[in-house]
Structures are given as structure tokens and as C-alpha cells.
């Protein structure tokens, strides 16, 4: 079973994304409400996520900064990260792609197809 870590400071987004992935794909979800909490959750050796879905705009440590911090830890640097953003400008997409993340998904997402979007972005066939 896939394990996904969702990092977002907005309670309702975390809740809907988790519900969506659990109900439509049967994935196991862990959530964190900040970049710092997300790094700790990702590093948990008993529940290492197969992928991370992370908001871009968060207070304190934003998504790109959190991603760069994750890259400094060899134990979690290989976990694919998908950024979730409400920004749709091309310049943002290029900036995020340059970071080295596995992909960028856009808010508002469709809860019925979010799992399929993640699978497609990561090349998962199952």
C-alpha cells in the first residue's frame, strides 16, 4: 500500500486531500501542518512515505524551502515531492521545476482525480 505525506498549513485542504486519497485510491495518509513538522514526519523510519504532496505557500518555512531542507537529509532526499500551488503563472512553474521537485499540481484540485494526478506525475502504474 502506498503511503503519502501531505504537508499543508490549511486544515480544510489537508482534510479533503487525505479523504480523497484514502477513499479513491486506498492509500495510507499522514499529514503535517508545517514544513518543519513535515520534515519530521518524512524522516520517521517506521512510516517512510512513498511520496510527499506539499503546499507552496506556508507561513514560516514555505514549500520550496522545506524541499531544499529535505534534500540535505540523505534518508529522505530520494522521496519524490509534488508541490501543490494555487499559483498558475508560467514563471512559477519554471521556478518550481528548477528546484528539482517531481512535479507540480494545482489548487483547486479535483478530489475525485487527485490520486490519478499523483500517479501520473510520478509514473505509478498501480
Amino acid at each position: 500500500m502506498r503511503h503519502i505525506l501531505i504537508i499543508d498549513d490549511e486544515d480544510d485542504i489537508r482534510e479533503v486531500a487525505a479523504l480523497s486519497l484514502e477513499a479513491t485510491a486506498g492509500w495510507e495518509i499522514v499529514t503535517a501542518n508545517s514544513g518543519a513538522a513535515g520534515i519530521l514526519a518524512a524522516a520517521n523510519p517506521t512510516r517512510r512515505p512513498h511520496a510527499i504532496l506539499m503546499d507552496v505557500m506556508m507561513p514560516g518555512m514555505d514549500g520550496p524551502t522545506t524541499f531544499r531542507q529535505m534534500q540535505l537529509n540523505p534518508e529522505i532526499a530520494g522521496i519524490p515531492v509534488l508541490l501543490l500551488t494555487a499559483k498558475v503563472q508560467g514563471v512559477d512553474q519554471r521556478r518550481f521545476a528548477d528546484l528539482g521537485v517531481a512535479g507540480v499540481l494545482f489548487k483547486p484540485f479535483d478530489p475525485l482525480t487527485l490520486a490519478a494526478q499523483i500517479s501520473a506525475a510520478l509514473g505509478w502504474k498501480d
Binding site: E10, I13, V16, S20, P108, F109, D110, L112
Partner: protein
């Protein structure tokens, strides 16, 4: 729809009702900014807070199947990016968004 999709849609409808107070809080932030703009007293901090509320609404409303709400909230986010947003336009868009949210229930 598959059974899983049906179940997800039903849970989403319940989550909309549960999270409706969050939407109302963000609408209140926007309406406070509009009131301040009408009296020429919209401070930068309040404008930024309202822009953040619009950004969050833009990201959230569509996931409940409410794309029109996202469209209006995006317009508000862009308008509130200006140092001195037009008060009439601001109030009009916020009223449009409020009516639209009310129509969803």
C-alpha cells in the same frame, strides 16, 4: 461514478458543511478590507491579510466543485495585489463571491 467516487462525493459534501466556518472567516476578512477601502483606510497589513484570504478561497472552493467561487476569488487576489485597490471593484467582487457562496448552501 464508481462506488468509491460516490462515497468520496458524499464525504466531500459533508466536509463542505464542516469547513463552511473557515470559508465564512475568510469572507469576513475580505469584507473588513472592503469596508476599510471604502473609507480610504485600508492599511497594507489588512490588504495583505485579505489577499491571503482570497488566495486560500481560490485554492479551496473549486475542490468542493465550486469553480465559479475560485474564479472570483482569483480576481480578488489579483486586485488585492495592488497597493491601492479600487474600492468599488473590491466591494463588488466580494459581494459577488458572498452571493455565490450563499447559493452553494
Amino acid at each position: 461514478m464508481t462506488e468509491a467516487e460516490d462515497k468520496t462525493a458524499a464525504l466531500l459534501a459533508a466536509l463542505w458543511l464542516k469547513n463552511r466556518p473557515i470559508v465564512d472567516e475568510r469572507m469576513a476578512v475580505l469584507e473588513g478590507a472592503a469596508a476599510a477601502a471604502c473609507t480610504g483606510s485600508l492599511a497594507e497589513a489588512q490588504r495583505k491579510e485579505a489577499q491571503s484570504a482570497a488566495h486560500k478561497l481560490a485554492g479551496a472552493l473549486g475542490m468542493y466543485g465550486y469553480d465559479e467561487g475560485t474564479r472570483i476569488a482569483r480576481k480578488l487576489e489579483m486586485l488585492l495585489d495592488e497597493a491601492a485597490p479600487d474600492a468599488t471593484t473590491l466591494a463588488g467582487l466580494i459581494a459577488e463571491l458572498r452571493n455565490a457562496v450563499l447559493s452553494k448552501g
